[in-house]
């Protein structure tokens, strides 16, 4: 029996299912005897639990800022304030004085507070009711009244994690040695679970309807993150075949070479020096995208050139052996705001002040960042600097003017992301002004198709291999070849192993993916030859629909495997 979903992280695996159920109510013992004699004891137990929960959240925030984005960290900061909320505390105390047992008091009080928010007309505020309940759940877990949602940690035999959905805090707790795959009932390519699974390099399928009803906890489940399928009752043969696929792919150093001798560089997308080190470990040829905004989310001052230069040097040092590094200047915007840089609310942040638009509105801060990068380059870093969200030559001109005021600015190679359709259409002119470009297929696709990539209801429309998007990619590669300038690609499509032959056939010779995917992409490339890849690209060029392109890619992948 095969259930279909959306493959969001490639690879096949078969392991016992670990079904992750959301916490239920405080049934059982706690309702009749909470282990405390009187209100005084209950208050003391509550105070201890509050303190421990605060400390745990503090740690989670520190880890989140490092590993995910500031938005996720902001959610947990709000949780901290809620744990410490005097009205919630009063309500709990009121119930305790009324004679309620501790878990009942916490439950009732949090439900009352959540109801206040749930009654509001504003959708954002209504959703905060869930946060109040999540905070109460943390307390109940801490007090031992609700079974803890511990995921299997180090030492546990390998499992495939099965869940309705994963919360940000759940995904952070995943241990890749133990969680060999993830499958969820809901979710999209851009949900937390999907992004993290790709970062960890474990196969994942999301949006599998009827999953929990079909899965038995502890029974082997086979998942195929490339095809977007899972099988909760695999045959013995299939289970063996998928389990064998679990074996880690060998890490290859040096450029991947197709069987007929075409070199393709496989770089990594990273955000921290630790990730750069991990990329090196996975055999990346360099860093194709270093997201500098993570530094600021982690608290580095936007106006501190010294601190930034140190941080960039640390990343360069982590890259070891002078692997090429491409730093993307701060990509901050309404959808991923920075606490230190508050912004007006925007109705449509994806079309708002972000990337280079923000940088040019805050030229002093932008100059500080560029100066720090130039310093690293001058000290022998040999780095490339790439500007996000450029829509055309006017913005490039603005960037160049600022660079012109910085001594030794010619030590850095300047490039742009190609993610705004107008820049893609004007690729010839853009290339004349820069040293290189890198195509950000995630945003380019979203903007070309006018499809919010975080909207699950539009999942069927958002596809990087839409013929219109591919036609533009073709034009970009051709322009790069004409002008002899490097064209890289750093979007999620490069992580789709089905799409790799197509990209190579189109002429891409530099791909950048999440660090753990580097060995997968390299192995795939080494098994590929250019001629069939070019034939695939030619066939895809003639395809008129996204479905037709996907059919060609799947057929090609099956032929390759056989």
């Amino acid at each position: 029996m095969t259930l279909r979903g959306v493959g969001v992280s490639p690879g096949r695996v078969c392991a016992p299912a670990f079904v992750h159920m959301p916490a239920t109510d405080t049934s059982g013992e706690g309702r009749h005897d909470d282990g405390h004699a009187d209100v005084k004891e209950r208050r003391a137990a509550l105070a201890t639990a509050l303190e421990a929960s605060q400390a745990a959240l503090e740690e989670l925030i520190a880890r989140t800022t490092e590993r995910l984005d500031a938005d996720a960290a902001a959610i947990f900061r709000a949780h901290q304030l809620m744990l410490d909320d005097p009205e919630l505390a009063d309500a709990i105390d009121r119930h305790l004085l009324d004679g309620a047992l501790l878990p009942v008091a916490i439950e009732r009080a949090s439900e009352e507070m959540a109801a206040l928010l749930h009654a509001l007309p504003d959708e954002y505020l209504r959703e905060r009711a869930a946060d109040v309940l999540d905070v109460a759940r943390r307390l109940l877990v801490r007090l031992g009244y609700v079974e803890s949602l511990q995921l299997p940690g180090p030492g546990h035999p390998p499992v495939v994690l099965v869940a309705h959905d994963l919360a940000p805090s759940d995904t952070l707790a995943l241990t890749p040695e133990v969680i060999t795959g993830v499958v969820t009932e809901v979710g999209t390519r851009t949900s937390h679970a999907a992004i993290l699974a790709r970062q960890l390099g474990i196969p994942a399928v999301v949006g599998v309807e009827g999953l929990l009803a079909a899965v038995t906890d502890g029974h082997p489940i086979a998942i195929d993150g490339t095809a977007g399928e899972c099988d909760p009752r695999p045959s013995a043969a299939k289970a063996d075949q998928y389990a064998a696929a679990t074996i880690t792919v060998e890490v290859r150093r040096g450029r991947a070479r197709t069987s007929d001798g075409v070199d393709v560089a496989v770089h990594a997308n990273t955000s921290t020096p630790q990730e750069v080190a991990s990329a090196v470990k996975f055999g990346a040829d360099g860093v194709g995208l270093y997201r500098t905004e993570f530094l600021f989310h982690a608290g580095c001052a936007l106006d501190d050139e010294e601190e930034q230069a140190e941080a960039y040097s640390a990343a360069v040092a982590a890259a070891a052996d002078r692997r090429p590094m491409t730093f993307r200047t701060m990509d901050i915007g309404g959808d991923k705001p920075l606490a230190a840089l508050p912004m007006d609310h925007e109705v449509n942040p994806f079309l708002g002040v972000r990337g280079v638009r923000l940088s040019l509105r805050r030229p002093k801060l932008f100059e500080t960042q560029l100066r720090a990068l130039v310093r690293v380059a001058s000290a022998g870093g040999g780095i490339r600097v790439m500007v996000p969200m450029v829509s055309g030559l006017d913005e490039l001109e603005g960037v160049k003017q600022i660079l012109a005021g910085i001594p030794d600015a010619d030590h850095v190679a300047l490039g742009t992301m190609i993610e705004v359709p107008s820049a893609a259409v004007m690729i010839d002119e853009v290339l004349q002004e820069v040293d290189f470009v890198s195509v950000g297929t995630n945003d380019l696709t979203q903007y070309m198709l006018a499809t919010d990539r975080t909207n699950a209801r539009l999942e069927h429309l958002y596809d990087e291999v839409h013929p219109g998007v591919l036609r533009v990619l073709d034009a970009i590669v051709a322009a790069g070849q004409r002008q002899g300038k490097p064209v890289g690609l750093c979007g999620e499509v490069a992580a789709d192993l089905r799409a790799v032959p197509l990209l190579v056939g189109m002429g891409f010779r530099s791909l950048s993916v999440a660090p753990p995917l580097v060995p997968h992409v390299k192995r795939h490339l080494s098994e590929l030859s250019l001629a069939p890849a070019e034939e695939l690209a030619a066939a895809v060029r003639a395809a008129r629909t996204t479905a037709a392109v996907n059919a060609l890619l799947s057929t090609f992948a099956e032929q390759e495997m056989s």
Partner: protein, 106 residues
């Protein structure tokens, strides 16, 4: 922020009416910052918006007021540092308002 009238009802109490001008109102991060500011003071601080009122030190209460941009609110503090508390919160609202347009200053 206009129309603010400071009145002293009793020695330990301070009240001020202000209009919330920043884009997000008291949602999300601005609400969290407002609550964090209120907590710096000993005084009991209440916020009123329309018919609703709540504890300024409670994020849940502040969020439940549903204060959006251009809402008139009244801040009432009582306690030893009541005046400082009101002044601090009014300053914070003003800075929230200033920070956002700093964006548009160039």
């Amino acid at each position: 922020m206009t129309d603010h009238i400071t009145e002293r009802t009793e020695p330990m109490q301070s009240t001020q009416d202000v209009t919330v001008r920043n884009e997000l109102g008291l949602h999300a991060r601005p609400a969290a910052r407002f609550v964090e500011e209120a907590k710096r003071f000993q005084a009991d601080v209440q916020v009123h918006a329309g018919e609703k009122g709540g504890n300024a030190k409670s994020l849940i209460s502040v969020l439940s007021l549903g204060v959006s941009k251009d809402t008139d609110i009244r801040i009432v503090a009582s306690g030893a540092d009541a005046e400082e508390a009101v002044a601090g919160l009014v300053d914070l609202l003003r800075s929230l308002e200033d920070e956002a347009p700093a964006e548009a200053s160039s």
